[in-house]
């Protein structure tokens, strides 16, 4: 295992800028999640680290060694692809043994068998090793694909949305499993996803990408609680953060120049309004069982928050909406620190 560092890395495809000015350090044994929507440059960044793309600018180092110009095979990395790229003409066992049989670092067949069996046990696919890759279910295929990376002891693991093709149950299972494996083995991992839950639960640090640039890098807590700007803030939280005009609702601590208030569900308190009062009207309540997202219309804006089940709100009810220590954003979208003494009623 080793540390990774990217300095001023840029990549263009023709006119299209894929990533630009990426500076990122991943420490030994750290799991860094790259988070962003489709087209933000997550996968390109990963491919640049792997050597599947050559950067137009910048420098990539693995374990202190400059690998910018080296072919993928020389970088000693393991890559898990989004589309499980198992070789259909091989069995699950041969797929997992494939990296260990590479001419660059060929291992003895006995050692390979041991290692594959060990990893297969870890991923609960020991009984499927003799099956053809095409005979496996989606979840099994993806576990074999992850297993193919885990049989090696590379400088770092690169994972490109490895869980995105799985169903919810398997995804949450494997998420915990991967995190456990990472903790136990002290693996260095760069993990790409657009799933904020994966990012929050797995990451030591999150890098939020926006249009090819790193908008912010920090621990999940930092990213969640002190996002640098509206964009980063909007990536995390369920339901998504409500962005409201600064003067829509009275709020304490609003700094000068705050044009937007970012209110997540924990910043919003609903209460049934007295007859004829209330700032908002309930438009819709979704009953998901464990959560009940409530859509509340305030003036011309609709905000979504989780309702207290005890309130038993229904469409048409009038509610009071109270903001409690939300986030504030200036005209340029940058977050402004709350000013404790401002706007006190």
């Amino acid at each position: 295992m080793a540390d990774l560092s990217l300095r001023g890395v840029a990549k263009r495809f023709g006119e299209q800028v894929a990533v630009e000015a990426i500076d990122l350090d991943v420490a030994h044994g750290e799991l860094v999640v790259l988070l962003g929507p489709t087209g933000a440059g997550k996968t390109t960044t990963l491919r640049l680290i792997a050597g599947l793309e050559t950067p137009d600018e910048g420098e990539i180092r693995i374990g202190g060694r400059d690998v910018t110009g080296e072919p993928p095979a020389a970088r000693d990395l393991a890559f898990v692809f989004q589309q499980y790229s198992l070789y259909p003409h091989m069995t699950a066992y041969d797929n997992m043994a494939f990296p260990l049989r590479a001419p660059a670092r060929r291992a003895a067949e006995g050692a390979i068998r041991e290692k594959v069996a060990e990893v297969a046990r870890l991923l609960h696919i020991g009984h499927k090793l003799d099956s053809k890759a095409t005979r496996l279910s989606g979840g099994e295929m993806q576990r074999v694909a992850i297993g193919r990376a885990l049989v090696r002891d590379p400088a770092a693991y690169l994972m490109d949305e490895p869980l995105s093709s799985l169903d919810a149950k398997l995804r949450s299972e494997l998420r915990l499993e991967l995190k456990r494996i990472q903790r136990e083995t002290g693996a260095t991992i760069v993990y790409v996803t657009h799933d904020q839950i994966e990012a929050m639960t797995m990451a030591d640090r999150i890098g939020v990408l926006r249009e090819g640039r790193l908008a912010q890098v920090g621990t999940p807590r930092e990213i969640y609680e002190t996002p640098r700007n509206v964009y980063v803030a909007a990536r995390l939280g369920t339901p998504a953060m409500n962005l409201l005009p600064g003067d829509l609702l009275p709020v304490e601590g609003k700094p000068a120049g705050a044009v937007t208030v970012g209110a997540r569900t924990e910043h919003l308190h609903l209460a049934r309004a007295r007859e004829g009062g209330g700032a908002g009207t309930v438009r819709r309540v979704e009953h998901l069982g464990d959560q009940n997202p409530v859509h509340v219309e305030v003036g011309e804006h609709t905000l979504v928050t989780l309702g207290d089940a005890a309130l038993e709100l229904r469409a048409g009810d009038r509610v009071d909406v109270r903001l409690d220590a939300p986030l504030f954003f200036g005209r340029d979208g940058e977050r402004l620190a709350a000013c404790p003494r401002c706007g006190r009623a």
């Binding site: 095979a73 890559f79 589309q83 499980y84 070789y87 259909p88 890759a133 193919r148 690169l158």
Partner: protein, 321 residues
Amino acid sequence: MNGAAMGKSSAHSVAEPSAGARRLAGAIVVAYALVTMIPLVWILLTGFKTPPDSISYPPKVVFEPSLEGYVNLFTNRSRQTPEYMASLPPPETWYDRLVRSRNMVITGPSRFADRYVNSVIIGFGSTFLAVFLGTLTAYAFSRFRVPLQDDLLFFILSTRMMPPIAVAIPIFLMFRELGLSDTHLGMILLYTAVNMSLSVWLLKGFMDEIPREYEEAAMVDGYTRLQAFFKVVLPQATTGIAATAIFCLIFAWNEYAFALLLTSGEAQTAPPFIPIIIGEGGLDWPAVAAGTTLFLLPVFVFTVVLRSHLLRGITFGAVRK
């Protein structure tokens, strides 16, 4: 409102043809197969007729089978006087006896076997070359940003746009100059060149279908691109390679015009040889038919052997789109 229309076809899926349509389709296929089989069956039968039977009119469908055609195909014979025939020791083999019953003796083997071997060498040699080069070329076109890619591909295809025989004279002159006339190498190169366009275009389609992730995964795992190509891409491309090989072989095997023009002795293939097998008083039809039958066999076997690859078609890849 549309409940009546929807409730109607509950017996089977609307996507499936009805039993009547399927029977009709089956009948058409069988009828077509029978029609195309007639010439083949006729050739097969003619090979086992005697020369008089083969040209009798009306044509004989029921006849006494004879191996004379096959014997004549493989031998040269000469007619002898009855006195000479009587002076010979008794015949040693069944084919000796057969030939002598016609008042002839075998003077030696014919050149059919040589021609046949030439066909095998040239047909399979050029097929191997065309598919090998075509695979590499198609892979390069499929995976790399080749400058002028579209123009090059069009150029490769354009070699097919005129009848090959249109360039026969220039090729004849070139071959004479280069000493390639009537050589195996010359014919292999020529057929390879003609087949390249087919091979590159077919295989590029198959290569495009193989996801890049396969090679990329292998390359990250410590393989070079060439190793990844052989380990991962080639096994995925077997279906396409088999299909391409069949098409290339059929062309090279059956090619007549170039073979007639550019070969005469050493490297002559079977196609220009078979139709001019002369017997007594004209073409020896049973021998021609026997030669044709034997000539059909390798392509037939080759196609049957590779058919499983063709039928397997698209492997349901483990890559999700």
